[in-house]
Every structure is written in C-alpha cells, then in structure tokens.
Amino acid sequence: MTTQYTEMQLDALREVANIGSGNAATALAAMLGRPVDLSCPYVYAKPLAEAVESVGPAELEVTAILIQVIGDLETMVVLMFNENDSRVLCEALGVEAGTEVGVSALCEIGNILGASYLSALAMMTGIDLEPAPPIAVEDMLGAILSSVLALGASQTDTALLLDSRLLVEGSDANFSFMFLVNPGAKGIGSLLERLGLGS
C-alpha cells in the first residue's frame, strides 16, 4: 500500500520531529559542553525504492545507532555518524573514534538522544514510547537503512522518515537523527489522531 499523507499531516509530523530533536539537541549540548544547532527537519513519505537516496549516498560508510521503540508506536530511532562526525563526538568525550570504547560512546550518545527525543514525543502526545537498548552497526548507509526498512516492508511500500540534522557548533560534525515509522504498523494513525489529524 502506498500510504498517502496530507500536507497538514506532514507538517504536524515535522513539528513532532522538531520538538523531539530540539529536546535531543539540548541533551547533547549538555553532554558535550558545547552548543548544538538543529536544522529544520525533513519529513519524507516516499516509496521504499527512493528512501535510501533521500537520506544520503548508499555507499557512505557510517556508524549507525539503532534504537527500537517499544510501546504504542512501532518505530525505530536511527542515528547515523560519518567518519568525521564520529571523530568530533568521540574527541569531545575524550575517547578515540573507531575503537570499541569509541563505538560505545556513540551508543551512549544515541541512548541519551533517543530517550530525550522520545520523552518529548510521549509528553506531547500521551503515547507510550519506551526505547530499547541501542545497537551499533558499522557499514554502508544503504545496507543499514534498507535492512531497517525491510522490517516493515511486508505491510507497506511507503517509508515514513522524520529526519533531523544536529550540528555541533565550532566543528563540522553534522549528523542525521531519524525517526523511522512503519506506516503499515499500529500506532501512526493514533499518533496523528492525538495531534488532531486522524484520517
């Protein structure tokens, strides 16, 4: 099913992403002791085939932190750091990028950002959203994202992505923070309903 969303629904989801990632940016700034900026989030409701290229080059080597969300909404929080982002973030935390300790530091960043994003969403909508422990994957962006999307692909041909970018001030670290919703699964309808935009 190619799920369709109205402009108004997409605007509402953009606002959800903005509030969630705003909260996450504040948490990251506190963790790093540096200001963190947030760019206007993108919301994509696209055919599966177009989803990967709207996020980035499929061949890009990234470290992704995946956080499965348990509760009323079947979804996944995905953070993607390229080599440079990993280096900047790890340096700010005083660990070496590319090492086991470096990867677990990125997991911890994912943990804190994911939790603050989800708690903002839960507070805004009254929907129960519990983050599972984060998992780190180092691979090609396309391989990671397509495997995440495959989890929901039996129910839909549409990928719904809320993609925010966080920028660490005074550095060129600029990474993707995604909230990936499976439009075929339970929950997205009730999320829109809570926002007063049920179909």
């Binding site: 099913m1 190619t2 055919p47 599966l48 085939a49 177009e50 989803a51 990967v52 290229e53 499929a58 061949e59 080597e61 995946l66 499965q68 348990i70 599972a132 422990p133 998992i135 994957v137 180092e138 691979d139 090609m140 962006l141 396309g142 391989a143 990671i144 994202l145 397509s146 495997s147 999307l149 495959a150 989890l151 692909a153 039996s154 129910q155 839909t156 041909d157 075929g184």
Partner: protein
C-alpha cells in the same frame, strides 16, 4: 541502479546493473551464459503471501514472485531458458536485537532460502554466491561477458563469477 524492490534486465553489452549497499536484501543476478543478456533484482522479503494487500508495488520485492517475473522479462529479451544461471549476493544479518527483539531479524537468511527455493522450482542453477555474514555488499552485473563482481563494506571489489564462453 537497482533500488529496493526494483529490477532491471538488459541486453546492452556495455551496461552494468548495480545495487549499492545490500544488507538483508538479496541481489539476484540472472545471466544467460551464452549471450549478453542479464538481469538484477533487489529482493527485500522472502514471501509475497506475508504481504498486506496492496503492499506489492513491484513483484521483485519478494523472492517468490521475483524469480518468475525476471524469467519472463529475460525470455522476452531473447534469453534461452536452458542457458540461464543465477548468482546470489546479500542476505546478511546486519543487526540483531536480542531476546526482546522481533524474530523477523533473520530476514537475510530467509531471503536467501526463499530465493533458492524459487530458483530450484524453476530449475535455474545457482553458480556462485556471496551471502550471509554481517556485512553489507555492493553487487555489479556486467552484461558483457556475464560477469558479477562484489564488494563488501570496507573491502575491495572482486570477481564472483563469470560466464565461461568459448566464442
């Protein structure tokens, strides 16, 4: 470029059919060993019967429907059924969520099994494969000479299979 759920067939000798970043998905290359005709499908899931109604934009999204669809298209291009062979790439397990996670996370392995089953039913032999493991892969099918190359994440490109033609 063959993206999620899509496929391409070609008889243009200079052409390359490419999928960058296969994770749990399968890149199914079907090659006519005697002619410069080849196809590549980017299979996402094992079984179209698991799909919600209307979630089948492309038959090549599912292993069971991808094989017949590709065989039809290749026959239309002039490939000879008895000369067709298959090469499989992908089907990795990129991540697992432990006990709390979904059991659907061995999608890669199930994709490979379902693709092999469909090929077996169609009597198409699998000549080579680069499947399983935990790493993403990029596959390139060179229509000329029926050659398949694979590159793992962080690795270098290498030849996986080539049609040994005498002419």
């Amino acid at each position: 470029m063959v993206r999620m759920g899509e496929y391409r067939v070609s008889r243009t000798a200079g052409e390359q059919l490419i999928t960058i970043g296969l994770g749990s998905c399968i890149g199914l290359a079907l090659i006519d060993r005697d002619r410069d005709i080849a196809g590549l499908a980017h299979i996402v899931l094992p079984d179209s019967k698991d799909a919600a109604s209307g979630a089948i934009a492309q038959p090549t999204k599912f292993a069971d429907t991808a094989v017949p669809k590709m065989l039809d298209e290749l026959a239309r291009m002039g490939a000879r059924r008895s000369g067709l062979v298959a090469v499989l790439v992908g089907g990795a397990q990129m991540f697992s969520f432990g006990s709390g996670g979904k059991s659907t996370l061995d999608i890669g392995r199930r994709n490979e099994a379902a693709t092999r089953e469909a090929l077996n039913a169609a009597k198409i032999p699998v000549m080579a494969n680069a499947t399983g493991g935990t790493k993403g892969r990029t596959v390139v099918v060179h229509v000329a000479g029926g050659m398949v190359t694979v590159k793992e994440a962080g690795g270098t490109e290498s030849e996986l299979w080539r049609a040994g033609r005498t002419r």
